[in-house]
Assembly symmetry: none
Homo-oligomer: 213 residues x 4
DNA sequence: GATGAATGAGTTTTCATTCAT
DNA sequence: AATGAATGAAAACTCATTCAT
C-alpha cells in the first residue's frame, strides 16, 4: 500500500516526457526548429528550461524524439484503417483518401511533414528514419492496394513504384498548406473539396474502361 | 610596373547584388534560413560579411530579396511556356507537366517552395507575396487550361477551384523531395517517371469517355 | 566532504542588479556611455556579459537604470539636509553649500551630471526625468530658502527664478571638474576653497546692507 | 595667368579642411564623439567619407582638430574684449559677463565645454591642451581683473585662485545647458536673466562697503 | 584630389546548456 | 526531481578605415 501521507494527487513524473514532447511539437510546428527557443517549449509544458534536460540531452535530441514519437500514432492509425479491406478497391482507396482531411484538422502532428522537409538536410538520421518508417511503408501500402485493384481487373496497370506519390501528393499538400500558406489564406484550399476532386480524378484515372483515350 | 599581387578586392558594384542573392539562395536552400550564417553566404559570394550590408539591410531582408528575385524568372518561364497554346488540351497539359522535371533539375530556385513552406509562419509578407504572385496566378493558369478542355468537350466538368492543386501537387512534391528526403534516397522518386504516371492518371481522369465508372 | 574547488558561479539573485548598476555607474563615469563595453561592466561586477541581460534588456536600459537609481540616494540626502531649517538664512545656505564638497568626494554618483550633460541629446526621456526630478526640485528648494531670507528681511529681493542656478553653478562645476579636467590637474580646483569663496561672495551678494553700491 | 579654361568658380580645396571641421563640430555637438558617424560629418560637409581621410588621419584626430581650432576664435575674442580696460573694475567685469549670452547664442563652438567634459577622460592630451590654453589663461585673466579691483580699493580681498571659477561657473552652466537639458526645457533657463542676476550678486559680493555683514 | 565599394575588427545580443541550490 | 541563475560560444550587425578606380 502506498503512503497515506501522499498528496491526493500530483503530477506523475511519468507523464512529463510526453507533455514536453507535445509542447515541443506545437512549438516546432509554429516557428520551425531553429526559431523556437527551449524556453518557449518549457513554458508551454509548464516546466522550466532546466527540466527539459532531465529528459532530453539536447535540443536536437528533443526534436528527434518529437518527430519519432509523433509519427507512431499516425502510422498505427494508417495501418489499421486498411488492414482488413473488403469490397471494391476503388471504395477502399476512396475511403482512405477521404479520411485524411479529418486527420489533418486536429493534431499538431500534421506539421511533421513540414518539419521533415524543412530540416531533412540538417538531420540526416531523421530523414532516413522517415524514409524507412513512413515513406517506404506508405508506398508499399498504397502499392498493395493498387496492385489488388489491378489483379482484380478493376484498375489499369500503372507504375506501382510511383503511384503512391500520385495518391499522396494532394494529401500531403493539404497538410503542408495548413501549416504554411494556409495561415494567410483561409479559403484558398478546402481540404475536403480537394480530396473529393482528387478521389474523382484518381478513380477515373485508374479505373478500367471500355473506351481507351 | 605595378605590383602583380592580386588586389584585396575589386569593384563589382553592378554585379554584386545578384551574386549575393545567388549565393544566398544556395545557402538557404541547403540549410534553411536560420541555420545559414551570413558568413557562409559572404564566403560563397566571394565577399566579406560587411559587404552584404552594403546591399541588404538585414538577414531577413536578404532572405526576402532572394525569394522575390528568384521567383521572377520562374514566373516568366512558366507564363511563356503556355502563352500560345494550340491543339488538344490534353497535349497542352501533358507538355506543361512533362517540362517540369527538367526545370527542377538545375536551378537552386527549385528550393523556394521548401523555403516558403518552412518560413511562411515567420515571414508573413513573404507568404502573402507568394500567395498573390505564384499561387493565385498558377491556379488561374491551370484553371484556364482545364476550362478550355471542358468547353471544347475534351474534359469532364470538374471543380475548377481545386483542380490546379491536383495538377500541381505531384510536381511540387518532386521539388520538395529534391531538397529534402531526396538527398538520402537517390532512387526513391524518379521525377520523370512520376510525371509520366501523373500525366497518364490525370488525363485518364479528366478525359470524357463513353463508359462512366 | 564536498570539493573545496570554487564553484563556477554562485546564486546572487537579490544582490546582482544592484551590483551591476554600481559597476555600470563606475564604468560609465570613467569612459562615457558609448565608450564603455558591456564586457567592462560585466567584469567589474564579477559576472559575464550574458548575466547583464538577465536583469537589463539592453545597454541603453542599463544606462537609464543606472542614472535613475543613482539619483535616488542623492535626492534623499539633499532633501533631508534641509528639512528643518532654523536660525539665520545665511547660515542655512552656507551649511548647504559647505556640505557639498564632502558629498562629491566619495561616490561615483557625482559623475551623473557629467553623464546627463554628455548624453541628454541621445536620451531624451532621461533628460526629462532629470529635469523633473532633480532640476525642478532643486530650483524650488533653493528658491524657498532665498525667499525665506527675503521675507525675513535678511536678503535683498532677487530674481527667484534664476537664483538657484547662481547658487548651484560653482557646486556643479566642482562635480564636473572631478570627472573631467580634474583628472589631469590635481591642484587646480580645490572644492573646499571654492565653496568657501562661493559662500563668501554669495552671502555678501545677497545680504541687505546700509550702503547701496 | 591662370588657365582661362577653368570653370568660373569651384570649391577651393583650401577651404575643405575648414568646412569639414565645421561640419564635424556641429555633428559632435549634436550627438557626442562616439555617437556621430564619419558619414554624418562627411554628408554635412558635402563630401564623402574617404575625403575626410585626405585631411585628417583618423576620427580622433579630427575631433582634436575640431576642439583646438574652434577654441582659437573664442580665445582671441575673449582676450581682445578685455585688453584695454578703463574705468571702474565693476563695469569691466559686468561688461565681460553680459557679453557672454550673445556669444553663446550663435556658434556651435559653445558645445566645446560639453565635449571637453564628456571626453576629457578619453582624450588626455585634449584635456591638457584645454587646461593650458583655456582654463589657465581664463583664470589668469579674471584674476587680473579682480586684482585690479582690489588694488584700486574697489573690491574686497578674495581668494584670487578660485574667484575665476565663481565668475565663470554660471556662464559655463549656460553653455552646457544649451546643448543638453535646454533641448527639452526651452524656458527653464534664460541666459540673459541669469547673467543679469549673476552680475548683480557678484558685484554686490565683491564690492567694498561700509557696513560689514 | 575625390570617390565609395569593400573590408574586418569590435560590440551587442541571443540562447542552448550547465550546475549550485 | 525540479529550478532558474549563470555561463559562454556563436552570430548579427556597425562603422572606422583602406584602396582600386
Amino acid at each position: 500500500m502506498r503512503s497515506t501521507a501522499a498528496p491526493r494527487w500530483r503530477r506523475r513524473k511519468d507523464d512529463r516526457p510526453q507533455e514536453i514532447v507535445e509542447a515541443a511539437l506545437e512549438s516546432f510546428a509554429e516557428r520551425g526548429f531553429a526559431a523556437t527557443r527551449l524556453d518557449d517549449i518549457a513554458r508551454r509544458a509548464g516546466v522550466t528550461r532546466g527540466t527539459l534536460y532531465l529528459y532530453f540531452p539536447s535540443k536536437e535530441d528533443l526534436f528527434k524524439a518529437v518527430i519519432r514519437q509523433s509519427l507512431v500514432p499516425i502510422l498505427s492509425r494508417a495501418e489499421q484503417s486498411i488492414a482488413d479491406a473488403k469490397g471494391p478497391t476503388a471504395e477502399l482507396l476512396a475511403r482512405l483518401i477521404q479520411s485524411f482531411p479529418l486527420a489533418v484538422k486536429d493534431g499538431a502532428a500534421t506539421a511533421i511533414p513540414k518539419l521533415i522537409i524543412a530540416e531533412a538536410q540538417n538531420f540526416p538520421d531523421l530523414a532516413r528514419f522517415y524514409l524507412d518508417e513512413v515513406v517506404s511503408r506508405g508506398r508499399a501500402l498504397i502499392a498493395t492496394i493498387v496492385r489488388r485493384g489491378i489483379e482484380r481487373g478493376e484498375f489499369r496497370a500503372v507504375d506501382l513504384d510511383h503511384v503512391a506519390y500520385c495518391v499522396m501528393a494532394p494529401l500531403l499538400l493539404t497538410a503542408l498548406w495548413r501549416h504554411s500558406l494556409g495561415l494567410y489564406d483561409a479559403g484558398g484550399l478546402d481540404p475536403q473539396a480537394l480530396c473529393r476532386l482528387h478521389v474523382d480524378l484518381l478513380l477515373h484515372g485508374l479505373t478500367v474502361r471500355k473506351g481507351a483515350p
